[in-house]
């Protein structure tokens, strides 16, 4: 086993070494060393995999808390810490405090940075005041604040070096996503799909904060950086005005397509990958057309933002199935693929060089809004979902309640990122197992105000009580290998390690370790609050540690805090599903675990 590990480490090293000449050398070197957790997702390929192997499926039962740290902030803690050498960095929900902790001194605070922000941004954040972490590059820590300010801090002192405002919260734009440093640039997306924001991704020069490029999710080709001839969708050039031709009039200007998820990067191809979110509003009747390029997977040139290829997963969204979930870059033999677990319940495998669609299968058997994705290249519906009308809000007009749709708007998975182990060649996916009723109705647009237009009620699939599953997935065949039930949605980012252990957190607050091959639960520990943060691993002084932020909130804190209703129990009665508030209360804490000696 050790040999195999070594081999996979060497392979990973080789992959990054080839990109080193182009990319930010410092960062590439740091992420090659498994002792660090140098990127929000561990490394550029978003695998959330650690090559560390001290903690194994054999000894993980001896894992104990080593130290913990209160963040001083109550609301939902998504994201997770970075570890660069002897220092750990992480950010909190609003007010977006950044801490640098000294790992040589039990987490003593080296510096703390707290930005001054107008609290009026708070209610413009659709689903709690989350922040998904900071990024490191070129001796700087980059923070993407709630008010969309991107600030570069001196990693040694916390002193702000430059800052730039990326959007306008008074018009509904907010910042929640983790930045990604690529070469000499730092990339950020924007939140605000529920406020009629037209989404974009910006790249700023890390040296001075000057805007290098910005690519919108919709609008004229000059705004999206789509080339009618060179940009392809499923192998064919997209043609002129591929976005604006799929909207009625000027609706694309408030069309959504926010970009609040995770960004990944392939140094060899020099492409960045990410997804765009739901079109605005949630009432599909108000926005006829495919609403491109909402709900799409994007491959952009990291230097220019030019779009190499694009694929729209859910044309004319009728469910709020944001396409923002992470793009995991992995290899199948010599084939470079991209694996994506979409909110719409399909696990996609694409050739990440060309954008060709290889696999699209349901990763939760409950998914019913669509029967399949059409993979027949000769079909005029190639790449499109086959939609079931009765589960498609708006198909019979607005002001109609569409019942029993699975998954619910929070998707079979939301932002909580999955993990991939190159040893087992399996993806590990924290999922939601929730269905909904959805009634769309007319709304009017006011800048900076919610632009939703639907009423939803959510509940577990009929006859079931578990609202989540943690699954292992084979991306080659598109099949579930094993599945562990969770009482609540599994809303924490997973970690796979070379010790054949997979970690994830639960909404009740457990950090769990399961066997990478079988899914058998090996260990669990109840942290102070529900976990919606992401688990990471690092090594310090020769010892492997596992770290996670607890602090319940986010969309999970809205939909589940009060418990869900069961419409099948009759006349709107409350079902037998215990409220999350019976298990956990607010409060941000970092807990770090190590093997008990």
């Amino acid at each position: 086993m050790r040999k195999l590990l070594l081999l996979s480490c060497v392979a990973a090293t080789a992959l990054f070494a080839s990109g080193a000449a182009f990319a930010n050398d410092d960062l590439i070197t740091l992420q090659k060393d498994a002792k660090n957790w140098a990127q929000p997702a561990g490394n550029y390929n978003n695998q959330r995999y650690s090559a560390l192997s001290q903690i194994t499926n054999k000894n993980v039962k001896d894992l104990v808390p080593a130290w913990s740290f209160s963040t001083g902030v109550l609301r939902g803690h998504e994201g997770g810490p970075l570890v660069i050498g002897d220092v750990m960095y992480f950010s909190t929900p609003f007010p977006n405090i950044v801490y640098a902790l000294d790992l040589n001194n039990d987490g003593k605070i080296l510096w703390k940075y707290e930005p001054k922000q107008d609290p009026s941004v708070i209610p413009v954040m659709c689903c709690d005041t989350v922040n998904r972490g900071v990024a490191y590059g070129d001796g700087k820590i980059f923070l993407h604040q709630a008010d969309t300010t991107l600030v570069a801090l001196d990693a040694k002192t916390g002193a702000p070096l430059w800052q730039v405002k990326d959007g306008d919260p008074s018009k509904g734009s907010t910042g929640t996503s983790a930045p990604l440093v690529v070469k000499d640039k730092v990339l950020i997306g924007v939140s605000g799909g529920e406020f009629g924001v037209r989404g974009w991704v910006s790249a700023y020069n890390i040296a001075d904060g000057k805007l290098a490029w910005r690519g919108y999710s919709m609008g004229p080709d000059a705004d999206t950086l789509i080339d009618p001839e060179k940009t392809t969708a499923l192998g064919k050039p997209v043609g002129e005005n591929s976005s604006t031709s799929t909207w009625e009039g000027d609706q694309w200007k408030i069309g959504g397509g926010a970009t609040w998820g995770w960004i990944s990067y392939d140094p060899e191809l020099n492409l960045v990958y990410y997804g765009s979110g739901n079109p605005s509003t949630w009432n599909p009747v108000q926005r006829p057309g495919d609403n491109k390029w909402s709900m799409s997977i994007w491959a952009r040139n990291a230097d220019t933002g030019a779009v190499k290829w694009i694929y729209q997963m859910t044309p004319h969204d009728q469910w709020d199935y944001d396409g923002i979930n992470e793009m995991v870059l992995q290899n199948q033999g010599s084939k470079k693929v991209l694996v994506h677990f979409d909110r719409n319940g399909y696990g996609y495998t694409l050739d990440r060089v060309t954008g060709e669609l290889l696999v699209a299968e349901k990763y939760d058997p409950a998914v019913n809004w669509s029967t399949k994705i059409d993979l027949d290249k000769s079909s005029k519906n190639y790449g499109r979902p086959e939609v079931v009308a009765k589960y498609a809000p708006g198909s019979a007009g607005e002001d109609v309640n569409y019942k029993g749709i699975c998954p619910a708007a929070l998707g079979s998975k939301d932002e909580q990122p999955s993990a991939y182990s190159p040893i087992t060649e399996l993806n590990y996916v924290p999922t939601n197992h929730v269905c909904m009723d959805y009634e769309p109705f007319r709304v009017s647009y006011t800048a900076g105000q919610p632009y939703v237009g639907a009423t939803l009620s959510m509940y577990p699939p009929p006859g079931q009580t578990n609202m989540g599953n943690f699954i292992a997935w084979d991306a080659k065949t598109g099949k579930i290998v094993w599945s562990d039930k969770e009482q609540f949605s599994a809303w924490s980012g997973a970690l796979a390690t070379a010790g054949n252990v997979v970690f994830y957190g639960t909404l009740e607050g457990y950090l769990k370790a399961v066997d990478a091959k079988t899914g058998e639960e090996l260990w669990k520990y109840k942290t102070p609050s529900g976990i919606i943060g992401n688990v990471n691993a690092y090594e310090h002084d020769g010892k492997e540690y596992v770290a996670v932020l607890s602090g319940v909130g986010g969309w999970a804190g809205i939909g589940l805090a009060a418990g869900l209703t069961d419409p099948t129990a009759g006349l709107g009665a409350v079902g037998g599903y215990a409220a999350l508030s019976n298990y956990t209360a607010l409060g941000g804490t970092l807990t770090v675990f190590a093997l008990h000696k």
Binding site: P119, D128, F441, Q449, A454, T455, S457, A561, A562, L571
Partner: protein, 176 residues
């Protein structure tokens, strides 16, 4: 556009005239005693209220309030006015909040930002999706606060009157 300004002015006037008299006063008996020509019910004090018909059907405005609440309010205040991890359960708030206070809070918002809390309610005064349905949302939450309206989607409702439709369109500034 001048219609929406008018609606806003009317809302502000309502707030002003009621605020002095009824601030910090719990809502009274929710029993519906009077119905206007739109179909909207009021209680003995003249405050908007819900009405549940003998067959269990909810009045149109409370039903409409259910829909609008779950579009505009629930992302903070949780499903069925049950609260979330960071915003209060309005089914409880309304037990000690007068109609005028409710209107004032929705129109102007409120902030509770301290060293330990960062709770901010936005001002919805400019938002027609809220202001045109303010009474609807109020009577829905009022029904939740008394327990008269259970959790989940109302099982049945009284149809919307033509006058209510016309009034809604006028408020939203929609044609015909």
């Amino acid at each position: 556009m001048h219609l929406s300004s008018l609606a806003r002015a009317l809302c502000a006037a309502t707030l002003f005239s009621c605020a002095g008299a009824a601030m910090a006063e719990a809502p009274g008996d929710p029993t519906a005693v009077k119905q206007d020509d739109l179909g909207k019910w009021t209680d003995a004090k003249g405050d908007p209220t819900y009405k549940i018909e003998p067959d269990g059907n909810l009045d149109w405005f409370a039903y409409s309030g259910f829909r609008r609440y779950h579009s505009e309010c629930h992302v903070c205040h949780g499903p069925d006015a049950e609260g979330s991890s960071y915003a209060p359960a309005l089914k409880n708030s309304l037990k000690t909040m007068s109609y005028a206070e409710f209107v004032g809070t929705v129109v102007a918002g409120r902030q509770n930002v301290t060293t330990s809390q960062t709770n901010v309610m936005p001002a919805f005064g400019d938002n027609k999706n809220v202001m045109c349905y303010l009474d609807d949302i109020y009577v829905y939450i009022r029904g939740r606060s008394t327990g008269a309206i259970p959790r989940g989607r109302p099982a049945g409702r009284v149809d919307k009157t033509d006058k209510a439709t016309a009034s809604e369109k006028e408020c939203l500034g929609l044609d015909k």
